[in-house]
């Protein structure tokens, strides 16, 4: 499918591919990659970490996003990141580009704070052994409290 402004593609760095794969595969933690991507974008935005994916890999398109959580949050991120300019609200292509940069920063944060210690040969060890659920939940809770401090 060709890249269109109506249905842009979400990209991540190739180096995060295995993490997305393990956390979103089968009956793993996230039902869809969109949910992990949105979480990463929210984390990246909250921390002000915006960086372009390297060695890009497309993982889903705009229409795969959950219309309530995914679309709303990524739109809000783009709006805030570009001086709260309302014109961006309908520009899916720009929203997605901005989201990709923040998702990259968010995943880097998760990697530095958690995943890095649990990688082997470039692969994330099995989630069952890791208690990923509660480690991630703890990180999310910390960030939730951090945002309410500002």
């Amino acid at each position: 499918m060709q890249e269109t402004s109506d249905n842009p593609m979400a990209h991540i760095s190739k180096r995060w591919e295995s993490i997305y794969d393990v956390l979103c595969r089968g009956d793993s933690i996230f039902d869809q990659m969109t949910n992990l991507f949105t979480l990463c974008a929210a984390i990246g935005h909250l921390n002000g970490e915006e960086k372009q994916p390297e060695n890009k890999k497309g993982i889903f398109r705009w229409t795969n996003l959950n219309s309530e959580i995914g679309v709303s949050i990524l739109t809000a991120i783009a709006w805030d990141a570009r001086d709260r300019e309302l014109a961006i609200l309908t520009d899916k292509r720009r929203i997605m580009d901005i989201a990709c940069d923040f998702a990259e920063g968010g995943m880097q944060y998760l990697y530095d704070n958690f995943f890095e210690d649990h990688m082997q040969d470039g692969q994330l060890l099995r989630p069952e052994k890791l208690d990923v659920e509660f480690n991630l939940a703890q990180i999310v809770e910390g960030l939730r409290q951090k945002q309410s401090m500002f």
Binding site: I29, H45, T75, A137
Partner: protein
């Protein structure tokens, strides 16, 4: 299958000829076999499995070398000693009825004891089956092993039999969220539906695909051939790993049982019994907490999928306020469509008919100003949808944060409790190791087995990882083949055949899944119905239904549909498992089958025991209880008497080393050794 009589001759610890007449038919369909630990309750089960299926050992026996091939020594050792150098025969005969026909099956095994004490047991055995039809016509005795095996399988499928004899205290394992337990539930459903034929077809198609792929590989050249060779190697690797996993699962089961057996033996030693009982209690508590923690994890997964909104809650609020402000100003959505005003300007005519040409420059400017003032880029009808979504997210945020917090607090509490229990278990284990008692060897052996089990579990996890990676790898390579295959016309017809087979396989899998899902739904519904009869009032208030999820995990849901397995007690989980087994019997068309239960009441509260005693006799065709003196007390005996279903009671009495006598007692006069569990 309804059991009428079990007759044992010099079988295991039952010396000479001994028999058990089972209570059959309504209303007296309950038999109790009462005995302390080590009196031979497992021996009776062993006799049943030997006679019906020719099993010379049970899955839980740890056998090695020659024993593995030949099985356990089944002949009574006292009788062998009395007849050193001569052949001795052990025999089990079972009379049973099935679908209005009567059967008597007899299986024998012989052997001798040499002067040096070695026992030689004949590897072969003789079996005979006689059938009498409903009119009383008796058919000739059948002695063909193959025919007898086939007939018994038809009556009670050997894979279903594990559901009808079980240890009551350990049956709650069905509710544990482990690979083995999910596999066990899956096996029950598969055997119930007799899905083997579909699985065979499935395997056949897979093998056909593999053959065609090999052929394509041979006929292809260069890159495609290299890709196929690689995929073929990955297929072999995945098959090998999956086989290793299967073997590992069986080995784990054996180790678990052996550890359990040794623990039982350790408990019998007075010096260490108290510590060991404490240790076992702590291990059970720790396992229960781990199950609870697993259920908590599953619940957290649901919230993690929405967790982005927690991290972005302030942002959601800010954009929501901005859009609400715009809506308040009438910009969202604008009362007049932008396209309409633009069209008026383009046609140079106002809605009132006034021309907007050069003569009416003022009106034209008015409309242009209106456009600039009232239409903000980015705000349109879709922004209203965005606002609605933001409003919903905003009102859901507080609830989500509370749930998140609740689970985190609970998880921390559980983690601390588990750590505390584990340190206590370690302390007790160390004390038991240093005790200098006669059970030291057993304890050391158990530690070794526990180490083996942990090593095996780690190895199986590693294999599972490797399987997942190889499958992903194969997926990537398959994608490459799709591209390369299109470039090679000579393999087109083979590819077409392969694709067709793959489609058939996918269809077959869909049919299989549909059947399995329907069965799961029926079973969940029936399990819930039975659960409401077995559970006490408090439990029923907490639990709305039993569910069987896509990974064959048994779970319970509360009134709001939340998973609550982690929050119910071990006794309640036992009730959930029993409800599932009774549902299996009923969904299979009210299977006429004897239900054997070893230690049926160990973990159950008084009300649950009463419900079980009242309900099971009405639901099962026949109920045979193998109960210890500590759980079958006067309270249970009186409750069972009141059902009017209790027909037989036998006591297993130890008469000497290696000899247990089966003694029949009067149901109306029998007084258990203990008054109550307290």
């Amino acid at each position: 299958m309804i059991l009428h009589n079990i007759e044992l001759v010099d079988f295991r610890q039952f010396k000479g000829r001994q028999a058990i007449d089972c209570a059959t038919g309504s209303p007296h369909n309950v038999s109790v076999i009462y005995g302390e630990n080590g009196r031979g309750k497992t021996g009776i089960f062993r006799a049943l499995m030997f006679c019906l299926y020719g099993d010379r050992s049970l899955s839980q026996d740890e056998l090695s070398g020659e024993q593995k091939k030949e099985g356990l020594s089944l002949i009574n050792e006292v009788t062998l000693k009395e007849n050193i150098g001569s052949q001795v025969e052990a025999q089990v005969a079972i009379s049973f009825s099935h679908q209005r026909k009567n059967f008597r099956i007899v299986r024998r095994v012989d052997g001798l004891m040499k002067t040096d004490g070695t026992i030689i047991q004949n590897p072969g055995g003789r079996v005979e089956l006689q059938q009498t039809d409903e009119n009383g016509n008796t058919q000739p005795v059948e002695t063909d092993l193959e025919k007898i095996t086939g007939q018994i399988q038809e009556i009670l499928n050997s894979r279903l039999r594990d559901y009808f004899l079980f240890d009551g205290e350990r049956i709650e394992r069905l509710t544990r969220n482990t690979r083995e337990r999910r596999e066990e539930v899956r096996r029950g459903i598969r055997a119930l539906l007799d899905l083997d034929a579909l699985e065979l077809a499935n395997a056949g198609l897979k093998s056909l695909i593999s053959q065609i792929e090999k052929e394509i590989g041979h006929k292809s050249t260069g890159e495609l051939q290299r890709v196929y060779t690689h995929i073929d190697a990955l297929n072999t690797k995945i098959d090998d790993l999956e086989n290793a996993q299967e073997l590992g699962t069986q080995e784990l089961k054996r180790l678990e049982h052996k550890i359990y057996e040794i623990s039982e033996m350790v408990s019998e030693n007075e010096d260490t019994a108290a510590k060991e009982r404490k240790r076992q209690e702590l291990i059970k508590n720790s396992q229960d907490l781990k199950v609870e923690k697993d259920a908590l994890k599953k619940e957290m997964v649901g919230y993690l999928n929405k967790s982005a909104q927690l991290v972005a809650s302030q942002l959601i609020e800010q954009l929501r306020e901005e859009l609400e402000f715009r809506r308040h100003k009438g910009e969202l959505p604008p009362s007049i469509r932008k396209e309409f005003v633009e069209k008026l300007l383009e046609q140079e005519r106002c809605i009132c008919g006034t021309s907007l040409g050069h003569d009416h420059q003022q009106e034209r400017e008015c409309l242009q100003e209106f456009l600039v003032k009232h239409y903000t880029p980015g705000l349109g009808s879709e922004s209203l949808d965005l606002l609605l979504s933001l409003n919903r997210l905003s009102s859901a945020n507080e609830g989500l944060a509370n749930q998140f917090n609740r689970l985190l607090v609970k998880n921390k509490k559980l983690r601390d409790e588990i750590a505390d229990l584990e340190s206590k278990i370690k302390l007790l284990s160390d004390e038991l190791k240093e005790g200098g008692t006669s059970v030291d060897d057993l304890i050391q052996e158990r530690s070794r087995l526990e180490d083996d089990k942990r090593t095996l579990e780690r190895e199986m996890d590693r294999q599972a990882d490797e399987i997942a990676r190889a499958q992903d790898d194969r997926e990537d390579w398959l994608k490459r083949t799709n591209v390369l295959e299109k470039q090679q016309s000579q393999v087109d017809s083979l590819v077409a055949r392969r694709d067709l087979t793959k489609e058939t396989l996918a269809e077959l899998k869909a049919i299989y899944d549909r059947f399995a899902n329907e069965a799961k739904e029926r079973l969940a519904e029936k399990s819930t119905e039975i659960f409401t009869r077995l559970a006490d009032e408090g439990t029923q208030k907490d639990i709305k239904k039993i569910s069987i999820d896509e990974s064959y995990m048994l779970d319970v849901l509360n009134w709001t549909g939340q998973r609550r397995l982690g929050e119910i007690s071990a006794g309640q989980r036992q009730i959930v498992s029993l409800s599932f087994i009774m549902a299996l019997i009923q969904v299979a068309g009210n299977l006429e089958v004897a239900l054997f239960m070893d230690t049926p009441f160990g973990r159950l509260s008084g009300v649950h025991r009463d419900h079980l005693l009242d309900t099971i006799p009405k639901m099962a065709s026949q109920w045979i209880l193998l109960a210890t003196d500590t759980e079958f007390t006067e309270v249970e005996a009186n409750a069972l008497r009141q059902t009017n279903a209790w027909g037989k009671i036998y006591e297993l009495v130890k008469e000497g080393e290696g000899i247990t006598q089966i003694v029949e007692r009067e149901v109306h006069q029998f007084t258990p050794k203990r008054k109550s569990i307290f």
